[in-house]
């Protein structure tokens, strides 16, 4: 099954420099026919929010191997839910425990992928969340974020699908 219309942004938060998950999921989604934009390391929620809107992505995947995501999640949710329509967020990583999952979901993260998820499950999840119907049904945040600082963090090693 291919998902040719889906555009996904894959990212790593803050100072988390473990990229294996991000690279692996990028490859999985690309192999499934999705268009993938990888921000590289050193991304803060402001950058992710702005790049997601500028690139008109349908879904954002955050690969985590540090606890920073627990603190950044509310800001990220606020920014991505202010897009029109809101952009769903998937957080994934083997370090995510059941309690972390509950905290992330409570903060408004759309879905959490933990250790043991299969390629089929991950691809199907991104495809489901990226659909216009799903996005339209997400809660919308009325606050707008101006682009005074277009790159809140520099894009280091930005890799675009197909390049």
């Amino acid at each position: 099954m291919t998902h040719g219309r889906v555009r996904a942004l894959i990212t790593v938060l803050g100072l988390d420099q473990h990229e294996a998950g991000a690279l692996v999921v990028s490859r999985m989604l690309r192999d499934a026919g999705m268009e993938v934009i990888y921000t590289g390391r050193f991304a803060l929620p402001a950058t992710i929010g702005e790049v997601a809107v500028q690139e008109d992505v349908d879904v954002v995947g955050v690969s985590v191997h540090s606890w920073e995501f627990l603190y950044y999640a509310p800001d990220l949710v606020e920014r991505l839910s202010s897009a029109e329509p809101p952009i769903p967020i998937v957080i994934g990583g083997s370090i995510v425990t059941e309690a972390d999952r509950e905290r992330a979901i409570a903060a408004g993260v759309t879905e959490v992928v933990r250790a043991g998820a299969t390629e089929e499950q991950i691809v199907a999840l991104f495809a489901r969340l990226a659909s216009p119907e799903f996005r339209q049904a997400l809660p919308h945040n009325e606050r707008s974020f101006s682009s005074s600082n277009p790159l809140d963090s520099p894009q280091i090693g930005r890799i675009r699908s197909g390049e």
Partner: protein
Amino acid sequence: MLASSGRPASASTPDQRLEVLPLYRPGDVDIDYERDLADPGSYPYTRGSRPARTKAGHESSDQIVRELSGEGRAEWSNEQFRYLLEHGATGLDVIGDAPTMASMDADHAFAAHAVGNQGVSLTRGIDYERLYAGIPLDRVSVSHSLPTAFGVAGFYGAAKRLGFDPGLLRGSMILAPLFSEDTCYSHNVPLELHMRLAVDTIIFSSERMPRFHPFVEDTYFISDGSIEAIEEMALGFIELREVVRRTVARGLAVDAFAPRIALLVNCRMNVFEEVAKIRASRRLYARMMREEFGAEDPRSLAINVAAHTSGASMTAEQLTNNIVRGASQTLTLTMAGVRAMEISAFDEAIRTPSRAAHIVGIRTQQVIQEETGVGDVADPLGGSYYVEALTDEFERRIEERVHFIEGLGDILELSTAGFFRSIFAEAMVDRAREVADGTRRVVGVNCHRLGPEEDSLLRDIVEQRIEPCYDLVQEVKEWRASRDMRAVVGSLDALTEAGRSPTANTTAAIVDAFEAGASMGECIGVLRQVYGAPYDPLDRAAERPR
């Protein structure tokens, strides 16, 4: 032979699967004892870097038992050290938190939620002093996973202020100038500056802390979760050779620093591959140092191999299985003659080591040492047809790969072009695929699984969270404003001058800068500028003091 088509041949790792026979017989290996093996402590050191010695009765092992540690503020890590030493650790192994490992101060905006929750936060000279307060640095060896020059400058300065003769300090510093940016320790620093800091640290240490190993070629972090054992050592040797060449080019005789070179290798789950890798690496190193670099001092030819067991082999599923993995890896390393190791803790897949995981790691090493007898005889697997054949195979393939890559051109240019980065990235994807499709069997992950309701052992430990040290961020901010700015600015100007002079030593200038109250982030900032990079590429650090 490539795992998949479509990659440029030069940027791919060749297939590294080793074809293993069901049985090894005398005809499968060509053993010339004096040429290829020799006794431990004799060239080419395949069987060990030091002569075998008989242990008398209950004499304790000379093994350095240590566990990776460092958490929160320096004071908390100091308590952690004391706990480990009280429970039988004979060495320390310090790792910085994410900001420290990126040469970033605790009050950098990017550091906000990462201060102290994955290692110790070390922004200032005073942090190192607090870290080592009350630790017998003349007796305990301290292994450091920290930004090279800052870790050495901090250790040296703190030891002096705490009243220790730097000449007595033992321990080591990992050195990874070539691969940090491509793997998980980017400092946003130009490669030439990474190399400069590495060489300056070696020169500084060989002059002022002669018992300290400032040059530990770390193949652990570049390989964990990605490349396999042959590529691990090939890339490690490429980096090591580049640093040796550059240090010699600065005028240091090879025998002046080579005795203090060590290897820190990974240890995955395949017992005999890891043993063969370590034995082959000792031999390859000895031959390379003698034949290529002209080293003559026997200590320059015999390399100490330390190891850290693979964190990537630890799973988030069925945590108790990780204790079994740690025990198997400890046994492997002991049979390979490794005398200093850290065991990745059972909670490694989820968090930095908990106290419970630390004690299990130490006890694992102690059980193997005290109860199994595997460390009683040097190189117990030597002479095995299989192990010797595999050792030969490793040596040959590592050497071939090193020559192939060096034949492609200048190493730093290759790195800049993304050559190594693509090797690591491809390997991460390949590894994940192998686990996903079951070609790499991992118990509890893709076979022999348990449902979540049954997989409950030790779960309470991995749910414990370490909060970021927001109070330390505030303390560093206030400290920054309270300093004698004339001294700080003067020391940063001196560091800039040292950076500009090709013969000055930047590590010595960092010692002075720490003494004057400059921070790590300020020091790396001015050095970045000398090397043509922005003071803070992320543009969120406190401003450079003027």
